[in-house]
Symmetry: C2
Subunit: 359 residues, 2 copies
Amino acid sequence: MKIGIIGGGQLARMLILAGYPLGLDFAVLDPAPDACAGPLAEHLVAPYDDPEALARLADTCQVITYEFENVSLEGLSRLQDRARIHPPLTALAESRDRLQEKSLFRSLDIPTPPFVAIDSREDLAEAPKCLGWPFLVKTRRFGYDGKGQFLIRTAADMDAAWAELAGRPLIGEGFIPFDREVSVIAVRRASGETAFYPLSENVHKSGILHLARCRPGDAAAAQAQEYARRLLERLDYVGVLALELFEVNGRLLANEMAPRVHNSGHWTIEGAEVSQFENHLRAILDLPLGGTEPVGHTAMVNFIGVLPALADVLAQPGVHCHFYGKAERPGRKVGHATVRAASAKALEARLHHLLALLP
Amino acid sequence: MKIGIIGGGQLARMLILAGYPLGLDFAVLDPAPDACAGPLAEHLVAPYDDPEALARLADTCQVITYEFENVSLEGLSRLQDRARIHPPLTALAESRDRLQEKSLFRSLDIPTPPFVAIDSREDLAEAPKCLGWPFLVKTRRFGYDGKGQFLIRTAADMDAAWAELAGRPLIGEGFIPFDREVSVIAVRRASGETAFYPLSENVHKSGILHLARCRPGDAAAAQAQEYARRLLERLDYVGVLALELFEVNGRLLANEMAPRVHNSGHWTIEGAEVSQFENHLRAILDLPLGGTEPVGHTAMVNFIGVLPALADVLAQPGVHCHFYGKAERPGRKVGHATVRAASAKALEARLHHLLALLP
């Protein structure tokens, strides 16, 4: 069986590495000739919305999936009669517009930070009435890793933000001084079987995920899973779905969802019985899901911009290296490492040593 | 860094899957256009001793390794000035001739079953004087998975064996009614660091490995490791080395060695902190070796000739599937599964269910 993946970055790469042991074959569609999943599979070098390349995927692959939200929804929609596409395009459409996404949360009684549509300079001026101070203004689409957003502390900040963002659909969001950020990685197959990984507790740096700890037995897990379950069912979802939430005074507020495998779930490769990557593949092929229970105590550290020396990483006990084969560039995710230990205390000690390798 | 692998079968495939997360690239040399490692890497379709293909590997790869013993020793020897080749060709030369191999064991005070060179029909007739009855006659080279060998129970069996084997260098070996077969997977990097996995206890069926259980804390481990250590040091070895031994009345007798990753070590993918595949790559790149300690209780079951249905395998908790992407054919290794559980007892229960799927 062959799986087509739109996008040939590290998420595609890790899906492929998880899929070969299941006897699967892969094709990726990515316009970059040096896309890091390219060497591992058939690589169609073409724009994401290239009709011929998409048709080729549809003709040669049993299932088509995608590794990021900014794929061509229009291109994929045209293929729906010819190919199975998972996760469903409705989930993709909802998740890639922050306003639609938060409205979906609201419609499912999933609490969110306050938010408001901003379609004009007047809307921006009025936003603090609804959101309080400070607040965030973000593009509704194409934002990731903290890109395309401004923190508005005073009315004076509005002009600079507007100069940068005007002309694009925007959303204002209340700025939440949260106690922590968590995410839940959920997975559902077509026949309805659903599973959840233990919560990830996430730390960001400059808007990019820096560190994610697996938190088995976390008190917030049941609530987070319940919210994820509502999304899975409403969307008739198939595949892995990630839901990021803020915890504020013991209450969870949904921040955003991603209809795909997610950076905060990378620890599952070594830290769960079956990884999010393998479970995504099982789900989209409607195969029995694998165990999501933790294996040891694990955390994941992202390598952003530059990689530490391979020998330094491998010298550390319990550390598992994932270099993506991408050129180093400031702000780019070029690899990660999973740290595994037999106890929570040993994990923190190992993590401390690993973090010391970072610039 | 790019690694060249001679041979593009499942061992190459699993090396490649272990190597991409380290940021490595791969080229395989295999004459079969459908070699199962082909889709995962650059695939040079040429005979194993093709000078141009070998030169290309030497020119583009930092290290060359091999996945089976019957590669072209002559071809590789010619490259030694141009490329690093690990494991060392001396180990390859010793291991692929059963007589040299057993003589090497003997020279290192590693006990073996009785053996004798058979170079003529007269030698065959004389062999039982040295070996007793019954005994085995085997080709010295190109034997694997029980191929190229005969059990001689009476003098009458000799003619049939001779008719089949005459003209090839042969060895006679005492037939050992062993209590069990074990193997030790050892790994050594150029700078001398050495590590050993827990013993594997192996069960064969029709001469092919059927089942291997990881046996942490086995009483025979220290002795087996000591024998492996002598081999590693004598051969100035770099990479993974497997040593198979018979246990007879509490005593270990070396049966054979393999200068490569080994089927009886496949459980290390899920059952050890770092797999034999990753450790082979670390060793040949002279990088720090990874932990060999067990993760849970594991066993490995080979799929020979035919694969069970993927959904049936995946439905079993703790079972990890490894399908090789090879066409099914009687006697061919087409996949394996690792079973992992939290206790030895739970492992046996899971193993029982998995074995029930086999034909």
